[in-house]
C-alpha cells in the first residue's frame, strides 16, 4: 500500500551466525504511533536498524515512505534515535544539535525548538557528557526530532526515565503523531503498549502480533497487555 509508512515482507536478518529476525512482515500506517514490543534481545533493535537502512539484511524487503530502506532520498525524512545515546559527549547540547542540524540542512531555529520539546532548555549549555542518564537520553531523542522528520524510529526512548518525564515524552509523541508524523517506538515495558495506536509484538525474532491494543486484549481475553503477551507466548510454545 502506497499509503503505509513502513512495509516489510519476508524480512530476515542474520547476526553472529544466528537468525535474529525471522520472516517478519508487517505494515505501519502513517500518522499513528506504533509500539514495537518484546523482551530484550528479541530483535527489536535489529528490525529498527533494518528500517533506517543501516542493517545488512539476509532477505526480504523493507519499504519506507515509498522507497527502499536506506535510499538516499530517505535520509532527511527519518529521525532515528538509538538506544545508547549517539551524541558527542564533549560538546554542549546546543553545539551537538547545531552540527546535526547543519548535516540535515534543518533551520538553526530547530535547535532551540527540539531542546524545548525534550525539556532540556535549562541544560542547553551543559556538556552532553556531564548530563544525567535521563537527560542524556532526551538529548539523544532531540537529535531525531531535528528537521521535523515524517517518520521517527525511536529505540527505547523512555528507558530509565522517571514516570513524570515518561508521561511528558508520550504526550510529545502524541502531539507529533497528531501533527502527521509516523512514530515507531520500541519498548520492553508492556504498560507503554497501552499508549500506542498499534502494537507489534516480537519474541525471538518472530512477530507474534500486529494489531491495536484493544484487539490484542480481545483476542487473548486478557485485561492487561502484560498478561496478553504472556498468553500469546505460551500459546506459541
Amino acid at each position: 500500500m502506497a499509503n503505509s509508512a513502513i512495509l516489510t515482507a519476508g524480512l530476515r536478518v542474520r547476526r553472529g551466525g544466528r537468525e535474529v529476525v525471522r520472516d517478519v512482515g508487517f505494515e505501519v500506517p502513517r500518522g499513528v504511533i506504533t509500539g514495537l514490543l518484546g523482551p530484550s534481545g528479541c530483535g527489536k533493535t535489529t528490525l529498527m536498524r533494518a528500517i533506517v537502512g543501516v542493517q545488512i539484511v539476509e532477505g526480504g524487503t523493507v519499504t519506507v515512505l515509498g522507497h527502499d530502506a536506506g535510499s538516499p532520498q530517505l535520509r532527511r525524512r527519518i529521525g532515528y534515535a538509538t538506544q545508547n545515546p549517539a551524541i558527542y559527549a564533549d560538546l554542549t547540547i546546543t553545539e551537538a544539535l547545531r552540527y546535526f542540524a547543519a548535516v540535515l540542512r534543518a533551520p538553526m531555529s530547530d535547535v532551540d525548538r527540539v531542546i524545548a520539546e525534550v525539556g532540556l532548555t535549562d541544560h542547553a549549555g551543559k556538556l552532553v557528557g556531564s548530563l544525567s542518564g535521563g537527560q542524556h537520553n532526551r538529548a539523544n531523542l532531540a537529535v531525531a526530532l531535528l528537521g521535523k522528520p515524517e517518520l521517527l524510529v525511536l529505540d527505547e526512548p523512555t528507558v530509565g526515565l522517571d514516570p513524570v518525564l515518561r508521561d511528558d515524552l508520550w504526550a510529545l509523541f502524541r502531539r507529533l503523531a497528531d501533527a502527521g508524523a509516523t512514530l515507531l517506538v520500541s519498548s520492553h515495558v508492556m504498560d507503554e503498549a497501552a499508549r500506542c495506536d498499534r502494537i507489534l509484538l516480537m519474541r525471538e525474532g518472530v512477530l507474534l502480533a500486529d494489531e491495536t491494543p484493544g484487539e490484542l486484549r480481545a483476542r487473548t481475553g486478557a485485561t492487561d497487555l502484560e498478561q496478553a503477551f504472556l498468553r500469546l507466548v505460551r500459546a506459541v510454545l
Binding site: 547476526r15 533506517v52 537502512g53 543501516v54 542493517q55 545488512i56 536506506g70 538516499p72 535520509r75 532527511r76 527519518i78 532515528y80 538509538t82 545508547n84 545515546p85 549517539a86 551524541i87 558527542y88 559527549a89 564533549d90 560538546l91 554542549t92 553545539e95 552540527y99 546535526f100 547543519a102 548535516v103 540535515l104 540542512r105 556538556l127 537529535v143
Partner: protein, 244 residues
C-alpha cells in the same frame, strides 16, 4: 561533496577539542618542547640542524596518527558515525572535515615548532621555510589519513593505541633518520621505499641543504600527497552505511 558539510564537520571537531583544553595545549606545545629537548641532547647547532627538519615532519605525523585514530574510533564506537550514516552527509564530507580540522591544528603545531627552532635553537636551512612548512603539514595530514584508515581495524582504544608502534615506528626507523636508506640491506631498503614517511623525510632533508626546488623534491612532495589522499580514500571505504 558539499563544502558546507565539510566546514560544519571541521567546526564540530574543533569545538570538541576546544572543550578539552589540556589536549589542545599538548597538541600545540609538545612538538616544540621535543625540538627544544633535541637541541640540548645534541648540544651542537650543526648536528641539530641536520636532524631537526626531519623531526619537524616526524613529530606531527606521529601525533596526528594517534589522535585521529582515537577520535574516529570513538566516533565509531559511540554510535555517532552510524547516526551520521543515516543522515544526508557524504563519507568524503566527513573525512575532509577531519582533514581540515586536524590539518589546521597541524599548521599551528608545525609553525610553532619550526618558528622556535629557526629563531632560538639555531636551525639553519638553505631552502625555503615555506617549503619546509608545506612538507611538514603534508606529513601531519599523512599521519591523520593513516590513523583514520587503521582505526577501522581496531575494536578498542587499546588496540588503536598499539597501531602506533605497529604502523608508525617502522616508518620512523626506516625513513633514513637513523641510518641512510642507501646503506640498508635490500629488504629494508625496499620496505623503506614503499613507506611514505621516507619521502617526506627525504624532502625535508633536501630543503635543509639546498635552495633549489628540483624534480626529486617535487616528486617526493607528490608521493606524500598521493599517499595521504590514498589513505583517506581507503579510510572512506571503511565507513559503511550498512553494517552486520
Amino acid at each position: 561533496m558539499n563544502p558546507a558539510l565539510t566546514l560544519a564537520t571541521a567546526r564540530r571537531i574543533l569545538t570538541q577539542l576546544r572543550h578539552d583544553r589540556r589536549t589542545v595545549v599538548m597538541l600545540i606545545l609538545v612538538p616544540s618542547l621535543l625540538m627544544v629537548l633535541l637541541r640540548f641532547v645534541f648540544n651542537n647547532e650543526l648536528m641539530f640542524s641536520r636532524t631537526a627538519p626531519a623531526l619537524l615532519g616526524v613529530f606531527p605525523f606521529l601525533i596526528m596518527f594517534l589522535i585521529t585514530s582515537i577520535t574516529t574510533l570513538r566516533e565509531r564506537t559511540t554510535g555517532t558515525l552510524e547516526r551520521l550514516m543515516t543522515m544526508p552527509i557524504g563519507r568524503l564530507d566527513l573525512l575532509f572535515g577531519y582533514a581540515l580540522a586536524f590539518g589546521s591544528i597541524a599548521v599551528v603545531q608545525v609553525g610553532l615548532a619550526a618558528g622556535i627552532s629557526l629563531a632560538w635553537l639555531g636551525l639553519d636551512i638553505v631552502g625555503s621555510v615555506g617549503m619546509l612548512l608545506l612538507i611538514a603539514v603534508l606529513d601531519a595530514l599523512l599521519g591523520m589519513a593513516l590513523g583514520l584508515f587503521v582505526s577501522a581495524f581496531a575494536r578498542t582504544e587499546f588496540q588503536a593505541v598499539q597501531f602506533m608502534p605497529l604502523f608508525v615506528l617502522p616508518q620512523i626507523l626506516l625513513c633514513g633518520l637513523f641510518m641512510p636508506r642507501g646503506q640498508m640491506g635490500w629488504l629494508l631498503n625496499w620496505l623503506s621505499n614503499v613507506m611514505p614517511l621516507s619521502y617526506a623525510v627525504e624532502g625535508l632533508t633536501r630543503v635543509t641543504t639546498s635552495s633549489t626546488i628540483d624534480a626529486t623534491l617535487l616528486r617526493n612532495l607528490l608521493i606524500v600527497a598521493v599517499c595521504a589522499l590514498l589513505a583517506l580514500m581507503l579510510g572512506a571505504a571503511t565507513l559503511r552505511r550498512r553494517t552486520p
